[in-house]
Symmetry: C2
Subunit: 132 residues, 2 copies
């Protein structure tokens, strides 16, 4: 009788494996990846890596984001424990957003990625003669 | 007369700056970021970082991707000089996809990101007691 026979018949993908697998369509890592790499998810994470921001400051920092998309993106990232929403007990209410310790780890990878794109834009766009 | 006065009056955002700025809505880095972090862009880059693949092998490797989305994603990444399409002169035709040197640099950041998500899935999903 091997290990397969003694395994519980119904377990989630996460319980069955030690780690996620983004190549597997059913793996929950796909949803996290999707939130972190959504059109606005990356930029919100990178902006919060710079500093804690109020909603209005985040909106000014990230060119082109709508109020609705910023609210939805923050909600998704909060659900993934990457962003912390801190409501100060003031009149009028003052809400600040910051990265959680987990979010800071994640944001470091996103900053490396966006920094690479910013630095290498001439090579990617073909406006640099030193092509790869 | 300073440098500002001698600058040509109409230059692209890229020409006016030494590097891109993903926070600026009009910066061309936004389109590159969008291709690299699209739902399938990340996974195609990471799969090609593992090995050169034929279209059909890529489709098998990336769970859930449709033929249409894989073709579009490869086309976008090829346009950004990140992916190289190599058509071998055989009957039937044999087409392989690989990362360009530029693509390998980019993929390293995406692999770091997906690896982090895979490793930290229990913490993000809240199935681990050691919460951040």
């Amino acid at each position: 009788m091997d290990a397969q026979d003694t395994a519980p018949p119904r377990t989630s993908l996460l319980e069955r494996h030690d780690r996620g697998d983004v190549m597997a369509a059913a793996c929950p890592s796909r949803a996290i990846l999707s939130h972190m790499t959504s059109r606005w998810g990356v930029l919100v994470m990178v902006a919060l890596a710079e500093d804690t921001h109020r909603f209005s400051a985040l909106r000014r920092r990230i060119g082109g984001i709508s109020e609705r998309m910023l609210a939805q993106t923050l909600k998704d990232l909060e659900g993934d424990r990457l962003v912390h929403r801190h409501a100060l007990d003031t009149v009028p209410p003052h809400v600040e957003y910051s990265l959680t310790p987990l979010g800071r780890e994640a944001a470091a990878h996103l900053e490396a990625l966006t920094g690479w794109i910013e630095d290498n834009l001439p090579r990617i766009s073909g406006t640099d003669s030193d092509l790869s």
